[in-house]
Symmetry: C2
Subunit: 205 residues, 2 copies
């Protein structure tokens, strides 16, 4: 690409380093910003650098936070002895949106994935095991994606907890609400039968 | 979406104002930046604000430029009397990449589009007509997209030039090089026959 402006070229190069954004999209975004009022670019630019400079990770659960201990961990109304283990920050947001979990979270920061070179020591697993060792945790809810990597990570943590007194559970896998049964894959459908629940219990949900 | 951080929320809101980027994509981009070294965000943020603050439009052809008169307009090797009329900056870059045009450009800044409320007075048409009136232009090459709006804009400019001594031409429309004839649309195929060129001439291209 031939640029008539170094400033534009520089901006396009920086934008196109973002994942999923190629040079052409970056150029389109840059030209869009040039057509908008200067404030929009100033606000965007300031929001990005402030976020990167000042954002913290909660010392307790590793969730994103503006303070040392995040709002969820410091909320006196949350149950401190039930911890939901998730892969990343987006999962915390997704579960919070459901308002179904009244306990705390623990953000691992990823899943064990040998192909991508992510081992247990790249994740926040030691701090999780230490929490359990301290005796303050009654139940761990594994809420990782039901993939090979998610299952591996669940199992690795489960083994680390060997001999410690804590209940463990995993989120239910089954047919999505609203889905047609005939389109569900065999494994999901099979498990949904094995893990069936009493009908009366389902009426109360 | 529930955010655990105002800084993150603010960044996501600003990113999602870009065209084609929703809240989820904005969140993914923001979390990506948080995983990268701080320099990447600093560079991105600086490149954007510098571009928006310091970038100019060439006083002569309205192309993007770091100086008052762009590199193309001030290049003594370009033919000043042949002007290629284009919709926007990306078209200048596309044509420059072909190295087929040795003259100058004139960037209209859009096409006449009554549905979107873009009239002739929103485009850089007056300055183009004035260039022609000054008598320094021998040929105008209309290089707008072959759409209804492009054709309307071409025709509007052509009418404005009424009585002025200037050649006008439009870029050839025909079968794309490498395309299968059977997949070409009827209008394009029809025009390509009407506008056929001598075979010997085609050999020299």
């Amino acid at each position: 690409m031939e640029f008539s402006s170094k400033l534009l070229e520089n901006a396009v190069n920086e934008i196109s380093q973002l994942p999923g954004i190629g040079k052409r999209t970056a150029l389109r975004l840059a030209l869009h910003l040039l057509k908008q009022p200067k404030e929009q670019t100033a606000n965007l630019s300031q929001a990005l650098s402030q976020m990167r400079e000042d954002l913290k990770f909660c010392k307790s659960c590793h969730n994103i936070s503006d303070v040392e201990i995040c709002e969820i961990c410091s909320n006196p109304l949350r149950k401190k002895d039930i911890i939901c283990v998730v892969e990343d920050v987006r999962d915390v947001m997704a579960i919070e949106n459901t308002a179904s979990h009244k306990g705390l979270y623990h953000v691992l920061g990823g899943k064990i994935n040998p192909i991508e070179g992510i081992g247990p020591h790249d994740l926040n697993i030691v701090s999780l095991v230490n929490k359990v060792k301290s005796g303050s945790v009654k139940e761990l809810i594994f809420a990782l994606s039901p993939t090979m990597e998610g299952d591996t990570t669940n199992f690795y943590i489960f083994k680390q907890l060997n001999g410690l007194e804590v209940q463990t559970s995993t989120i239910a896998r089954g047919i999505s609400v609203g889905d047609e049964l005939e389109y569900a894959d065999e494994i999901t459908l099979g498990r949904s039968i094995l893990n069936r629940i009493p009908f009366e219990a389902s009426l109360k949900q």
